[in-house]
Amino acid sequence: MIEASPKDLDAPYWAALEQGRLNLPTCKNCGVWHWPPVSRCAECDSWGLDWHDIPLEGEIFSWTRTWHPFGGTEGLEKPFVTVVVAIPAAGNRRLMGLLEGVADTAPVPIGAAVKGRVSHTRYGETEIPTILWHLAARDGDAQ
């Protein structure tokens, strides 16, 4: 269920994230962004992916703030904010992550620019690499 295999299509994503970098794939042939990754590109009937370094910058697509202590979230202090972030540099494909630096009562603006850093989430006995996003405007560096 949760264990990764080196044969998994997303193994390069995890390998890069462990090194603090975001890698996302395009079709080797037609260049369309695929996330989640595919073995076969149905757009151009070809096989194989190219992986690219992507800056940790995106826009909030949606969010939820979790208050209930669901089993499996013991490693996260409640409440925590989960965000779905669209990555413009990767064809607006979306990643799940956590939002840091917002007050517990503050609404999270959909569409807001965010920047990220790589951290880890403890899940059971494992540490999974994850992206911690923060509102870019907080740094005064939003464009």
Binding site: M1, I2, P36, S62, G72, T82, L95, I110
Partner: protein
């Protein structure tokens, strides 16, 4: 119209055993056997003559193990619908009808059984289907959180007022409070209590979430011809569709932007109307699987009863209650206020409301929409009708 399907099979009997979560006095299998016996007695059919079984959502009760208790003479057909959520509920009737109409089985039980000490928590079982490191790393471990992400987009981007979700719940509780078989019997919905109920995952309060029950439900499907010889008024299956369209599915939250906040019924609903030659205005009552309040709202939008823009006009309390609302929904109380055995109660009420047995009757109702599993990667819908429709 798909003439091969429309009105050719019918539900001839129903049975249910429902208990508070964790309190079933029987094992999961015995709950199921008792529900099946009830359904057969309701129909006036010897349980030994049931020769087919279908379930959904990872039910663990392999029909072959029921044979001794039921006295099954021949087990001729078994199947389960893919998907860990409630999205397979209507699809199970489609499978059963396919088996009956092609002569693979004569009398098929559609069932779902869930007793916590046998199957654990439903939410955990559903999530086991989907959970992956991407989700776990973002703290997403429960269906409530995933549906909450969709709901925030529905409210915060598409501009559907959150009041529609409350109106949907209010209708469920109105019906449940008047249904002696409902968990919410006698308890009126209270806006202040709703808002004060603890936050689970924003925007969902506790009251926005369905809560699990122990129990089992069974519905007996036979050919329309066969049903006419049985005890109860047949409730015909008029049409059924299942699936997902391109851009929807288990996609790490990468569903197409215009589908993301939906219930995932796009192609399923379109094909249901095409298949039956019916339109939303032909539907008299609807049983809508509301795992979470906002997903009830999106189910109504997906099936064309309203749009994002007109949702607040259509999804009003007065409009959703029996007997006089334009579209009474969840006339037994729904998953939230009647009880939740992975949604089988929604299918039971679809049949019982058309037999005139609902605790909240809809006079002269001839058609009922059943919509299953909004937000799940695979969803399904069906329309049932009285004899007047065929």
């Amino acid at each position: 119209m798909n003439k091969a399907l429309f009105g050719k099979t019918a539900v001839a009997g129903v049975g249910v055993q429902q208990f508070k979560r964790g309190t079933a006095p029987y094992s999961e299998r015995e709950c199921l056997v008792r529900a099946i016996i009830q359904a057969c007695e309701d129909a006036g059919l010897d349980p030994a003559d049931v020769d087919g079984f279908v379930s959904y959502g990872d039910d663990k009760n392999e029909p072959v193990r029921l044979m001794s208790d039921l006295g099954t003479k021949e087990l001729n057909w078994t199947q389960t619908v893919f998907g860990g959520g409630g999205g397979g509920i209507a699809a199970a009737f489609g499978s059963a009808a396919g088996a009956i109409l092609t002569g693979q089985a004569k009398a098929v039980i559609v069932f779902r059984a869930l007793v916590q000490d046998a199957s654990g928590r439903l939410s955990a079982a559903v999530m086991a289907h989907h959970l992956n490191p991407h989700m776990a790393a973002a703290g997403l471990v429960a269906p409530a959180q995933v549906c909450a992400l969709r709901a925030q987009r529905l409210f915060g981007y598409h501009g559907v007022p959150a009041e529609t979700a409350e109106a949907f719940l209010q209708a469920c509780y109105y019906h449940g409070s008047r249904n002696p078989a409902a968990v919410a019997y006698g308890s009126e919905f209270d806006h202040d209590a709703y808002m004060a109920s603890r936050m689970i995952a924003e925007p969902f309060h506790l009251f926005d979430c369905s809560r699990e029950n122990d129990g089992a439900g069974a519905l007996l499907l036979v050919s329309a011809e066969h049903a006419r010889d049985l005890r109860r008024p047949p409730v015909h299956l008029l049409g059924v569709t299942q699936g997902a369209e391109k851009g929807w599915g288990d996609l790490l939250e990468n569903d197409d932007a215009d589908l993301y906040a939906s219930g995932g019924f796009g192609s399923v609903a379109r094909r249901l109307w095409e298949q039956t030659d019916l339109t939303p205005t032909d539907i008299d009552v609807a049983q809508i699987y509301e795992n979470f309040s906002a997903q009830g709202v999106t189910s109504l939008i997906d099936h064309g009863f309203c749009t994002y823009e007109s949702a607040s006009e259509f999804i009003r309390f007065e409009n959703l209650i029996a007997p006089s609302g334009q579209l009474p929904v969840n006339t037994h109380g729904g998953n939230t206020a009647q009880g939740f055995i992975h949604g089988i109660g929604i299918a039971l009420e679809a049949v019982q409301c058309l037999r005139g047995e609902s605790a909240n009757p809809v006079p002269d109702a001839k058609t009922c929409l059943l919509a299953g599993g909004p937000g799940a990667p695979i969803v399904s819908s069906a329309i049932f009708g009285t004899a007047a429709m065929v």
